[in-house]
Amino acid sequence: MDREWFEGRVIGLLDELLGAALRLAKNRHDAEDLVAETVTKAWANRRSLKDAERFRPWIFRILTNAFLSECRKRAARPTADVAVDDAGETDASFSLFEELHQPFLLWWSNPEKEFLNKLLREDLERAVDALPETFRTVVVLAELEGLAYGEIAGILGVPVGTVRSRLARARGQLQKALWVHAQEAGLTRPARKPVEVSHEASEDDRV
């Protein structure tokens, strides 16, 4: 591997590497150190990259592993989040859309779209940061960096089926966190129920 080629690829991916590192490490200082460590390790192990086309998943694998081994060192818990695959079962079915969607509103009103327009990047970052480490990792790799499930399975050393189920649960939790936050921040209008007028009673009820 040519040093200049390597430099070009690293600089080209720097914003993405830093973006992933920031959501994993949750602070800018540790994120920058993580990227620097990743670049150093990647160069040292450059011969393990068999196919230059695979540079992106390859360097994200190095970044993720560097992060996870740092976590294990710090927390001194060799099997972090071991129970997580059993957790969040119910969250997998949570749908932000269904919470927001109000089919009885007039057709030009679009609360889902309005919600996304009001949602700040900061809101999304906070929701990702709140996920447990195992779910956060899979969301960072799949959603933020757009890696394929097979690539993520290779990075994490788990079967593709595990990636699918973790991602489903992580997304449910993420959407739930966004929903809770949105309500607290007043991003959603109070659910407007259709005025229920019973035709029989309406005459008597009129004030």
Binding site: E7, D15, L22, A36, L144
Partner: protein, 79 residues
């Protein structure tokens, strides 16, 4: 080509995120795609999920800034 199997909303929604991730097999992908084309409610849901995905994708990029880029370039020059 075989005609696309018709699926219902539940089946389409179950596979929607994997559909958007391009992670479904060709036959299932076509089934979901076809359902979204003919179902207004699932179409809206798909639009929403895609927009949310786009927002998350944006959050995956953090401006490195000159000083950090310089730090990495200095590091690279030592290789």
């Amino acid at each position: 080509m075989k005609p696309v199997k018709t699926i219902g909303c539940d089946e389409a929604l179950k596979h929607l995120l994997e559909y958007l991730d391009q992670e479904l097999g060709a036959a299932k992908h076509r089934e979901v795609e076809h359902h979204i084309e003919v179902c207004r409610s699932c179409f809206s849901r798909t639009e929403f999920e895609q927009r949310l995905k786009n927002r998350l994708r944006d959050a995956g990029r953090e401006s490195s800034g000159e000083s950090f880029e310089e730090r990495i370039k200095t590091l690279l020059r030592r290789f």
